[in-house]
Homo-oligomer: 239 residues x 2
DNA sequence: TAGTGGTCTAGACCACGAA
DNA sequence: TCGTGGTCTAGACCACTAA
């Protein structure tokens, strides 16, 4: 929603036009016509440049497309690269029931790897949260998430959120940038027991550094049963 | 390059201003000031709206950023998600010497999996190109690439390109969209022999469907030695 | 021919930042 | 105080599309 209309007290005309058009075409099929520029000039009693400023924004964000000599139309949605998702979001997308069992959650001193990933000094305090993840009731993954406590005051004492990403989102700290590494390996004895496989079974390891701006908010290491999990991703933009 | 100046015969003013500014700030450090809008109005003898249209384009493409009350400046380059790279590009990025040995290249009838990936009918002709990939002389990967011959006339009879992606780029068919899957597995006997490991060694499997627009130009399946390869990727935009 | 978006003019007032 | 970008006006002519 555009809150400039409320919070500012003084509505910007191009914002008013933009949000009017956005609401008008919401849910309309690609190719549906939007109002013509001169029609909007009449309706809002503004200059045409103001209407164009409003429509420019909607064209830039991919909602509308202009065809010279014909008009302005609802654009076909662009393909989008793989979003940065949480385990529960990913499982929901696959149509599976995601469950999590907390194995450990406590304040720890950062080891060398975690400290480097956070740009902290070894020994600095971090929150360590280890969970066993299930899909449709079957063990699928062990995730060790590390969090920078400075960015998440009261996190340890609050009720554990259902979804880490939901909690981060509520704090405005949901990662918008992720640096991932993926490798194949065999399970350790401890991992094998939790995942209910024999030791030395093949697993997929996935590490992530999640950032918001320049701040590292999440460092995680996950190990998946290779017989139950294939990672998917889409790269590129548009089509 | 902006060719509207030449091909159109009649130069668009906002294009002239845009390209003038682009050339002016080329190579300048982030934070360097660009000319002010009123300065460009003077220099080109155009209206301010025309200058703003020119600068809007450069701001949208991420070259400039505006700071109200201060001016317009060269923007800090945005972080970019993992590009769709070829094996040789990826190895070069890692500072390793990439080599390829063609094991097989021929026309084949598409099997069910490849046909589905290409949106073809099973049995349709495809080009199959199998290569053993080395990094710094050591076997790293076996790649089976399948190509749609309809899109690549004469491909089989031409000299084999050093890089498949270079050849595709020359034909305007370098993928701009990729759908990948990654899984952990063990090597087959044949794979183990080529990769110079014992059978049942852990490997990373990577499949890709590469598209340009709606056209599938490449379907590939790669198998990497897990002890020598970790996949990296970056997701998201900006920072 | 009528309507559309693309381009362009020559001004204007505003809020904000720096000096 | 002065310069900056942000917003806005009330027109104009053009090329193009569709009827």
């Amino acid at each position: 929603m555009e809150d400039a209309l409320i919070s500012d007290g003084r509505a910007l005309k191009h914002v008013a036009v933009r949000e009017y058009v956005r609401g008008l075409v919401a849910g309309h099929a690609p190719g549906s016509p939007a109002p013509s520029e001169r029609e909007l000039v009449q309706r809002f009693g503004v200059a045409r440049m103001t209407v164009r400023q409003a429509l420019d924004a909607l064209v830039t964000e991919g909602l509308l497309e202009r065809i010279p000599g014909r008009g302005t139309f609802v654009a076909r949605p662009r393909r989008i690269a793989t979003p940065i998702t949480s385990y529960s979001e990913e499982m929901t997308r696959r149509g599976m029931l995601a469950e999590s069992q907390t194995l450990l959650v406590r304040r720890e001193h950062a080891g060398p790897g975690v400290a480097r990933a956070f740009n902290l000094t070894e020994g600095d305090a971090v929150v360590h949260w280890r969970r066993l993840r299930r899909a449709d009731g079957q063990p699928l993954c062990i995730e060790d998430a590390y969090l920078n406590e400075v960015l998440l005051p009261g996190f340890l004492h609050a009720a554990m959120p259902t979804s880490l990403y939901d909690d981060l989102a509520a704090r405005g700290l949901r990662p918008t940038w992720a640096e991932d590494s993926i490798s194949a390996d065999v399970a350790t004895e401890e991992e094998a027991e939790l995942l209910e496989v024999v030791p030395a079974t093949v697993v997929l390891r996935h590490s992530r550094r999640g950032l918001v701006g320049d701040r590292v908010v999440e460092v995680s290491r996950s190990v998946y049963r290779a017989d139950r999990y294939t990672m998917w991703m889409q790269l590129g933009t548009d089509d």
